[in-house]
């Protein structure tokens, strides 16, 4: 039984504040996106989505996510496993490095890659001599996105794996399972919902990243534009309806992410009981 000591009025005021805030800052803008997207009708809406530049942007965004998410999945699991199941020198350093992208502004994240791979950068002349393009091409976009999404999977898994401890792995090893087998049959099943949760967050960020990608993309229409960049371009070309049409796809992605996230969260809670 819940015990409530606050007067009713306090509860109502708090609930109202929360709901008004939620409505004003989350629901209303979302509704605006869809309203603007459809302001010129369904024809304009679908034409905007079918435009070759829009399709190219969607392709770029999907490819980015398809490369970034597996990379972070492997890195995240490896890092979380190392940090939570073993003790080693420099562990705290590794933990701080995993957090680094969260504290660095995305613009700086983009500029780092310009300084490193740009024509005036450290590795630039060598790359040009070997005709390898990194910045202002898709590899740069992917690198920048990896940089900003690095913490997503690892941060999710570390607390889960830490709370599970190492007993189950030790039991498996004493019973004669190989390290590899232990990893696949004990460690991974225990964290599979955590992995999924991390992947969802990572994917959402990878598809929606603007700042870092904007710095390294070069904004070439139909080539190095991702969906968020394409939205900005359309908006700047006074094609608001088209801009919001593409934005609505991103918004829908966010909603799907939200639903998937709550399903996975429910499963994590169930697993912990």
């Amino acid at each position: 039984m819940q015990v409530r000591t606050e007067p009713r009025i306090v509860r109502y005021v708090l609930i109202t504040i929360a709901l008004v805030f939620f409505g004003l800052f989350l629901v209303l803008p979302l509704v605006c996106v869809f309203q603007n997207a459809l302001s010129k009708g369904w024809v304009v809406y679908f034409d905007a989505l079918r435009h070759p530049d829009a399709l190219a942007a969607m392709k770029m965004t999907m490819i980015t996510a398809l490369i970034v998410v597996p990379c972070n999945l492997i890195f995240g699991v490896a890092a979380a496993w190392a940090v939570s199941k073993f003790d080693f020198k420099g562990k705290n350093l590794l933990l701080s490095f995993i957090d680094l992208p969260l504290s660095v502004s995305p613009v700086i994240a983009g500029l780092i890659f310009i300084l490193l791979f740009g024509a005036q950068g450290v590795l630039g002349p060598w790359l040009i001599a070997h005709n390898i393009r990194i910045v202002f091409a898709w590899p740069g976009i992917i690198l920048a996105t990896i940089f900003v999404t690095v913490p997503m999977v690892a941060r999710e898994l570390i607390p889960i794996m830490k709370s599970q401890g190492t007993e189950e792995e030790e039991a498996a090893l004493t019973l004669g399972a190989s390290g590899w087998k232990t990893f696949w049959m004990v460690s991974i099943p225990n964290i599979r919902w955590g992995i999924l949760y991390g992947v969802i967050l990572c994917n959402a960020r990878a598809m929606g990243e603007f700042g870092a990608v904007s710095v390294v993309s070069g904004h070439i229409r139909g080539l190095t534009n991702t969906m968020p960049l394409h939205v900005e371009i359309l908006y700047n070309e006074y094609q608001s309806a088209a801009a919001f049409a593409v934005a609505s796809i991103l918004a829908m992605l966010a909603i799907v992410t939200l639903i998937a996230k709550s399903i996975v969260e429910a499963n994590i809670r169930q697993g912990q009981k």
């Binding site: 490819i63 740009g118 024509a119 005036q120 630039g124 070069g218 070439i220 700047n236 006074y238």
Partner: protein, 335 residues
């Protein structure tokens, strides 16, 4: 766990497929035109015309990709390795900067094409809201208190630098070349600026879509675009008593075209800007054409105005840039 392994395998397959698709997509003859902000509509039209022309002329299909942004920012990107075949920027200085900081094109690039490598010109005008409620007629009105002025940041935007120098030129003329008076005057204008966007297009969006400000200092072509395409009857163009002759320059980026093997088509692309059709397209997009025949045809569209030039009034872009827009230049002192 089998499903999880299958999931990983699937990821792997996706990865391979995406890399192959990207590799195939690269296999196309293309030009990259790195341009400044308000030329989006111009080059959209021009690229199509050039593609048709080149198909007839050389029998090959050419796709011109576009990148737009503030002129200074775009030059920076080319310096940092954005592989532009041609640059079409807001002012010569930004192309000078590329020539100076890299060996991508020779320092004497401006003499390679007619008219200082500027196939079209433009000027700076005021865009005000319907009925001109603040009664803005000339530069002096922008310095009055209570007037909100929209202009982009001269550090990143080419258009903004033309705006700044036009205002400065007006003050020089008014106070008989008194540089201190000019500085005070431009400082008073910039006190009235609530938002400094990084490019000309950002400023237009601020003025038109976000409805901030009483007057937008804009490229003539940008002002006409707003007038004719965005808000018919909602805005008015005000021609100041004196403005500046803006020469947006174009150049071939030699090192990049040689690496891409696109020199011939890139040269043809820039030359086509000077052809009758190229000039027509420029005029239709409210850029002042160089070709006499086209200029006469579109004469009614462009008001004649007293224009100062960068060379006469400021001793060229190198000097103007150094005095006004470099670190601790006049802009840093007043803003």
């Amino acid at each position: 766990m089998r499903s999880f392994k299958a999931f990983l395998l699937l990821m792997g397959v996706f990865w391979g497929v995406s890399v192959i698709t990207l590799a195939l997509a690269e296999n196309k003859v293309t030009l990259l035109n790195v341009s400044y902000d308000p030329t989006r509509e111009l080059y959209q039209a021009f690229n199509n015309a050039f593609a048709d022309h080149w198909l007839k002329e050389a029998g090959t299909t050419v796709v011109v990709n576009q990148s737009h942004g503030g002129s200074g920012k775009q030059a920076r990107s080319v310096i940092d390795g954005l592989e532009a075949d041609v640059v079409t920027l807001a002012l010569a200085y930004d192309i000078d900067a590329i020539a100076e900081k890299t060996n991508l094109l020779p320092k004497g690039w401006q003499a390679r094409l007619p008219h200082n490598s500027a196939p079209y010109t433009s000027t700076i005008v005021f865009l005000v809201r319907k009925g001109n409620p603040k009664n803005i007629r000339d530069w002096d009105d922008l310095a009055k208190s209570g007037v909100s002025v929209i202009t982009p940041n001269p550090k990143t935007s080419g258009g903004a630098r033309w705006n700044y120098l036009a205002a400065w030129g007006h003050a020089l003329k008014k106070w008989d070349n008194d540089e201190n008076k000019a500085k005070e005057f431009v400082a008073a204008i910039f006190k009235n600026v609530p938002v400094l966007d990084s490019g000309a297009r950002g400023s237009t969006t601020t003025f038109v879509e976000r409805k901030i400000g009483d007057v937008l200092i804009a490229w003539e072509n940008e002002a006409y675009l707003v007038l004719n395409q965005l808000g018919k009857g909602e805005y008015e163009i005000v021609m100041p008593s004196l403005s500046i002759l803006a020469e947006p320059s174009v150049a071939l980026v030699d090192k990049n075209v040689d690496r891409h093997g696109t020199r011939k088509v890139a040269e043809a692309y820039l030359e086509y800007l000077y052809s009758e059709e190229g000039q027509e397209i420029a005029a239709r997009n409210y850029y002042r054409p160089r070709l006499q025949a086209v200029a006469e045809k579109y004469a009614a569209q462009f008001q004649s105005v007293n224009l100062i030039t960068i060379d006469e009034a400021f001793g060229g872009w190198q000097k103007a840039q150094k005095t006004h827009f470099s670190d601790n230049g006049t802009f840093d002192q007043i803003y």
